[in-house]
Assembly symmetry: C2
Homo-oligomer: 441 residues x 2
Amino acid sequence: MSTIGIRGTFFDFIDDPWKHVGKEQDAARFHKDGLLVVTDGIIADFGPYERVAAAHPGIVISHIKDRIIVPGFIDGHIHLPQTRILGAFGEQLLPWLQTWVYPEELKYKDRDYAREGVKRFLDALLASGTTTCQAFTSSSPVATEELFEEAARRNMRVISGLTGIDRNAPAEFIDTPENFYRDSKRLIATYHNKGRNLYAITPRFAYGASPDLLKACQRLKHEHPDCWVNTHISENPSECRGVLVEHPDCEDYLGVYEKFDLVGPKFSGGHGVYLTNGEFRRMSKKGAAVVFCPCSNLFLGSGLFRLGRATDPEHRVKMSFGTDMGGGNRFSMIQVLDDAYKVGMCNNTMLDGSIDPVRKDLAEAERNKLSPYRGFWSITLAAPKASTSTTSSATSRPARKPISSRSIRTAARSPSRGISRSPPRAAGRARSRKRPTCFSA
Amino acid sequence: MSTIGIRGTFFDFIDDPWKHVGKEQDAARFHKDGLLVVTDGIIADFGPYERVAAAHPGIVISHIKDRIIVPGFIDGHIHLPQTRILGAFGEQLLPWLQTWVYPEELKYKDRDYAREGVKRFLDALLASGTTTCQAFTSSSPVATEELFEEAARRNMRVISGLTGIDRNAPAEFIDTPENFYRDSKRLIATYHNKGRNLYAITPRFAYGASPDLLKACQRLKHEHPDCWVNTHISENPSECRGVLVEHPDCEDYLGVYEKFDLVGPKFSGGHGVYLTNGEFRRMSKKGAAVVFCPCSNLFLGSGLFRLGRATDPEHRVKMSFGTDMGGGNRFSMIQVLDDAYKVGMCNNTMLDGSIDPVRKDLAEAERNKLSPYRGFWSITLAAPKASTSTTSSATSRPARKPISSRSIRTAARSPSRGISRSPPRAAGRARSRKRPTCFSA
């Protein structure tokens, strides 16, 4: 048994700041001089330095000065095989997919190409302080296999799955619903709950999914109810219209996923820029999550996610934030917060009546203001009843037992690396377990 | 006479990429292995290393590896006394001014506070690679004096002026048109064309200016036609309406400035988010410049500047880019380009007919795509017929004679510092002369 101490300034959350309007700091925990005691990778104690140090005499303490130690970030929506095309120029979603994305993702059939891509992807995430992600892969199983394998080697928490598409993409990129079903079954058996991996049944998006593909997803979800469902929803106006052309019997985008029983507490729909009020209400009722991806929504020009609508207290929708790299042009969740704030403020102006009095809604306008507390909570603890949460402090021992409700699980197989004083690298070296409500319901 | 060489990879512009649609690289100059020869702070030669080195045997050469050396950036719109409130939370323009800005800018009456603020401001600009700026100050002359003094000490190019306001602000912050006229006269006499300083007659914005204040500006411009005019225009919907309440005899925002003869080739209006097509056309005809400040327009939720409209080839408006720090939340012009691209892409979606067929305009939609060439040109050479332009390579000797059309003027009074290999610092140490058309007409 090995016990170490990390002394420094700590900031994290213990509750949902949206529940503490006007005193959001009550949702957070700040120790200017704190001590984190870690035994074999698990937090054994945490609190003010004076108290905690006295309770653990003789342990070796690393003192991290002039930094703030925060929990590892959670990226709720990101695309592994777009790592090498981040920043592709000048197209909205649908032509961007055809021009840049599908040709690149096709290359991930090659195992060496996929393996190298996975390493760059996870390195970039960790360098950005992100220790948990929900990731899309590609239409061939190779990328999914390589991602889960490498995530396991690093003991990172990754939620992912074979990304099914059988329409509106190049013939060599799509696959049949039968193959998708068969490959998904095999991947679930191999990787779901193996190590810290979790499997998400992943129809890419309704615009690229025939009813038969969605039926395969329905069957998979029925057979594996503990698997997640990850997809896209209502990202771009042309895409939204296309979905209703592909699925003319559905009234709206969410309706397509509802028709195949995919919308529930483990459902994540990325983007949701053009969700109607009714769709937000239905997602709220079903406990489904929307993933706000502001960098991407701006970079691809998709539009302004209605943050104030998603947070309507009467119909609040579970929400995580994502980079959507490579539609988003950064790996950093900090940059996501920058753009999220900006999207919110643009909505604020749209809803204050100064542009269009008919749209005036001061309460919703106000909810579009993403305070620092709301922001940092969204990319860390992420939901009121997170079952487990962690810090991103840089330790690297195997985890065994959770302490109180907040545990840290660190890389079982990586060598001990000590503490870096450079925050991006320190975060990058963290291997932490983190399960916000929207990923743990 | 001292001659040094800087070897490295260089990228800059020799023309306007908007004039080279489809082959924008023709507007740029790239030397993978280049040599810049600097004699007493002035570029004596520049080109491929092989050729240039052969022509200058025996000079001491600093080799900067693994970096790209680019011209110093130009920030067309920034607020010195907002340095300490960058990132102020949760308000649109008008309440943000009242809550955060005016109380802070008031403190710049104190010379020590102003002097310390100026140092932080210029340090932050240089650290971001910005070597030229057009800056607002405050309503008291102290901030303007301190800015010009410190800019002169650093031999930086700063365009600035006493920032007049006599309405819609706290009583202790506003001043009379008479005082504004008198103080501006004195500051022009003291600082305009002294060293590298240039003076801009600066009514803060029409919403804060009585007709008498604007008459004082008109008189100043008449008496000092070589001075610049710097102000704000059409930033926020509530502000735009307020302007027409304050100036009920004017048809639109630009009309207020036109009424007082301020709109001409040396006029800069920051923001222009809500400029009408007619106002864009009038600005184009008069050779006036608009300053695109996307970080600010997003951070304050002001709205989406119509980049594709400003670049209509039939009525093209001179344009520079600005951070508008502290409305903008960064000092970095690189971040401005990030947000400028995003604003452009959002406009692209608005104009492709997918949201509103009536607004469909594919040519304007296309012009909203800010390519890297268009972007870097906008923050460096900035206009087709720049009279003088420079690189930001880090030298620090006095300037004497320009070489060809591209000169570098460096800090006359600062000690020689050599070359930093860290690009932000290298840029930050540059002291370069740069006059794009929109600041040199």
